[in-house]
Subunit: 137 residues, 3 copies
């Protein structure tokens, strides 16, 4: 068995921001030397999520508006008495900070239209992304 | 370490359709020869999700109605100017295209009432499902 | 490759209850002897979910209220004619029963503010949690 770990940083640019991190994940798969296995992407923050979908500017707006409609920024949240970002935690609960994707023949098996996004809900900030690849070379 | 990859196709039958793929996953676990490990199920499409729950006809209707209530088919989505399926992408963002399940003693460790569903949001279509099993034999 | 399996039980105390299971996960990582790999946490029940977030009492209330707002307890659900807990299944569909977290140098790589929660939606009950660690020692 082979394993490979990496970490990179992402600078987000707005209160809510979706950063396409697919190229970073592809680089990690390539560097890992794993030809057959799994890659896990994990974000060690509580006001961030991961999602996989198409990178289209209209759709980015739709994701933002939908999340704001489902979980408004202000709604008499109890956590807002401690820290003024309850809505960001709640969005992170819905879009979890972990995803796992297969690697076949050294290739990340995402589909043609799939990109991997770090979803910032309490930015702008610098965020860490952890990568772990395990499998066979 | 042992690894096993498989892929199968699913034909969905409606615009929104939940297809129970548990038998296919059980077959993959059996064929893999892995007795102790993890199975990852990944769908390389952006208008599809995976969920694990009970396969009961009333509940299928409730999942459909709940997702339609949370994310209506039409809501002046920006992506609908590009392709008329923004709502399907948004449902896919909420129900991610990846899940991972443990295997103990060659057995998929889902509970008695758990089935694994491919959730189609922009059908009917033919969809691909990727399986990766890693572990020890 | 090394693998390790464990199972523990959680007693939930209310209809909706969020139990911080981080210590149990840390114990499993320690017992596994795996220094470099992945841990998967899987709950074999259909009215339970997993989420990762901050353990703060106000935020727990916000998560509960938000989930109740998005998926009310009663809404003429079809599954309620079979069993009176459709809303609990629907919450479980949204917060899936599986998550995967990296292990580096024998350490669970959750962030400073991240705790792992079993989310009960149809309690109080006794629930099972399955752990699988795979990697290298």
């Amino acid at each position: 068995m082979k394993s490979y770990s990496a970490e990179f940083k992402v600078r987000t640019r707005a209160a809510m921001d979706f950063v396409n991190i697919t190229d970073k994940i592809l680089q990690a798969v390539s560097k890992s030397g794993v030809r057959d296995g799994l890659i896990n992407v994990f974000i060690p923050h509580t006001t961030v999520g991961i999602f996989i979908n198409e990178d289209e500017s209209g759709l980015r707006k739709d994701v933002e508006r939908t999340l704001l409609k489902l979980i408004p920024e202000r709604a008499n949240y109890a956590h807002d008495e401690v820290d003024y970002n309850a809505h960001a935690h709640l969005k992170s609960v819905i879009l979890s900070p972990s995803t796992t994707i297969p690697i076949n023949d050294g290739k990340l098996m995402i589909g043609t239209w799939q990109s991997i996004f770090l979803a910032e809900f309490d930015g702008p900030r610098e965020r860490r992304v952890l990568i772990k690849v395990i499998g066979a070379d």
